[in-house]
Subunit: 233 residues, 2 copies
DNA sequence: TTATTTTTATGTTTTACGGCACAAAAATAG
DNA sequence: CTATTTTTGTGCCGTAAAACATAAAAATAA
C-alpha cells in the first residue's frame, strides 16, 4: 500500500479557521509544536481520567466522545467530524479528561500542546471568541441531549440518533444511506438503550419501511416518518 | 416593610470578579448599561424560546434553569446561586434561549446588554477566558449529568440531587438541613422522575433514617449512606 | 371564616425496557 | 482453510418506574 505520508504542510490549510485568528508570532509558535497522529479503527485517542494536555483537531476520519457510566456502560456524548477541534474542554476547566475519544474508523489527528493554546488565548481575544462560540453551542446541545435521552421513548431516541448521524456525517451519493457504519452497540450507546433494544427497534423501523438495513449500512427511506417518530415517540 | 432599595452602588462590588478584568473605559461602558431587577418566587427571569439579549448575574436569591421536554415535562438543567453569571450561553451561540430561568425564591438580578459584553469580549482576552472557564466547567457537568440521569436508578438519582443541592446552596446553621426548600415537583424535575416517585422515594429515605423530612425542609442525616446510594443505586 | 386550588401522600395497575438465554451470521485469528 | 471470537437477531421473563386514582393536608383566595 503506497499511502503517502501526511505532513504538516498537508494539515495546515485545514487549521486555517484557527490560524487565521493568530498573528505571525503566535502562528509560528503553534505550528512549531503541532504533531500529526494516525489512529486505526477502535484506537483510543485519549482516555477518560487521563490528564488533558493537548488540543486536538480531527483532519480525517470519524470519532466518538464517550463517558463510562454505571456498570461500565458507555454513553456517547458527542461525535466528531473533519475538520473539527475537540479534547480541549477538560484542560480549559482545569480537569483531567471527563470523557474518552475513540476512532470509529481510521483517523488523522493533529495535536497542539494545550499550554501553548491557553497561553495564546490569554492574549488573543479573537481566539478566545473562537472557543467561546464552540463551547456555547456544545453546551446547548448537551442540555438538549439530556432532556431527549431522559424523556423520549426508545423509538424516539433511536430515530433522533439516525437523524443526528445524518446531520453529523451526511449521506452517501445515493442521497439516503448514512455515510457512517456503526455497530449496533455504538448505536445503542448513542441512544441510551441496550444493544438488544437497538437491534429490535432497528428491525421494527425496517419492517415499517422507515429505513432499510444491509448489515451496518442504514438507508433512510422515510425522513418524514422518522422525524415524526423523533417528535412524538 | 421598609426594604431599602438596592442600587447600582450596592451591586457593583458583587460584579468585581468580572469588572476587575476590564479597563477603565470598558468598565464604564458596562456599568452605564447595567440594570437591576427584582423577582418574586416563581417569576420568570427569561423564557425558553425568547431572543437572548442580556448577560445576567444573580445578586441574591436562588433560581433554576430548566428546559421543556416531552409533553411539557420540565427538566432542571442547572441551578444558580449568588453571585453567579447566567443566561449568556444562548447569545454566545447566536441562538434564542434554549432554556428558561425561574426564581426558586425572591431574587435580585443584574442585567447587562449582551451586545455590550460581546463587544468587549472581542477585545479583552481576559474577559474571554473568564467565560471559557465557566462554559468548560458547565459543559463537563452537563455531560456528567446526561450519563447520571440516564443510567442511574431512581434512588441513586434522588440521592445525587440531594447532595447536589447541598453543594449548590449549602446547609443551615444546624449543619444538616438543606438551605433550599424545593417542592416535590421541582425535586422530581431535577432528578428526572415523576412527582409521585420523588415523594415515594423521599419517604423511603426518611424511613431508612437517611434523611428527615419536615414539609419542604430536608435534613441530611446520613451522608455516608446517601453517597453510597448515589454510587451504587 | 369558608371555598378553592395546589401540594403531598399512598395504593393499584400497566408497560416500557432491561436482563438473560440461545442461535445464526459474520469477522478475526491461528 | 478451520477454529474462535465477536456481532447480530429473537424470544421470553422480571421489574423499575410511569400512569392512574383518590384522599388528606396545606396553601391561597374569596
Amino acid at each position: 500500500m503506497a499511502r503517502r505520508t501526511i505532513g504538516i504542510k498537508d494539515v495546515l490549510p485545514k487549521l486555517s479557521p484557527l490560524l487565521e485568528l493568530l498573528d505571525e508570532q503566535q502562528s509560528e509558535l503553534l505550528i512549531k509544536h503541532t504533531t500529526i497522529h494516525h489512529f486505526r479503527k477502535n484506537d483510543i485517542i485519549y482516555a477518560e481520567g487521563e490528564p488533558s494536555s493537548y488540543l486536538h483537531c480531527l483532519i480525517a476520519g470519524k470519532l466518538k466522545i464517550q463517558k463510562e457510566g454505571v456498570g461500565g456502560r458507555a454513553q456517547i456524548v458527542r461525535v466528531i467530524r473533519p475538520v473539527e477541534f475537540f479534547g480541549y474542554r477538560a484542560a480549559f476547566a482545569g480537569q483531567n479528561y471527563a470523557s474518552g475519544a475513540v476512532a470509529f474508523e481510521p483517523c488523522v489527528v493533529v495535536r497542539v500542546p494545550i499550554g501553548t493554546i491557553m497561553h495564546i488565548v490569554q492574549q488573543n481575544a479573537k481566539l478566545g471568541w473562537f472557543f467561546i462560540e464552540r463551547l456555547s453551542k456544545d453546551l446547548g446541545r448537551a442540555d438538549e441531549r439530556t432532556v431527549n435521552l431522559t424523556q423520549k421513548h426508545i423509538r424516539g431516541r433511536l430515530a433522533e440518533s439516525l437523524l443526528f448521524l445524518r446531520d453529523s456525517y451526511g449521506l452517501e451519493e445515493d442521497g439516503s444511506t448514512l455515510s457512517i457504519y456503526l455497530s449496533r452497540e455504538d448505536l445503542a450507546n448513542l441512544s441510551n438503550m441496550t444493544t438488544s433494544n437497538a437491534i429490535r427497534t432497528l428491525s421494527a423501523f425496517a419492517q415499517e419501511k422507515v429505513i432499510a438495513i444491509d448489515g451496518r449500512k442504514i438507508k433512510l427511506l422515510d425522513i418524514g416518518k422518522l422525524e415524526k417518530i423523533n417528535r412524538i415517540g
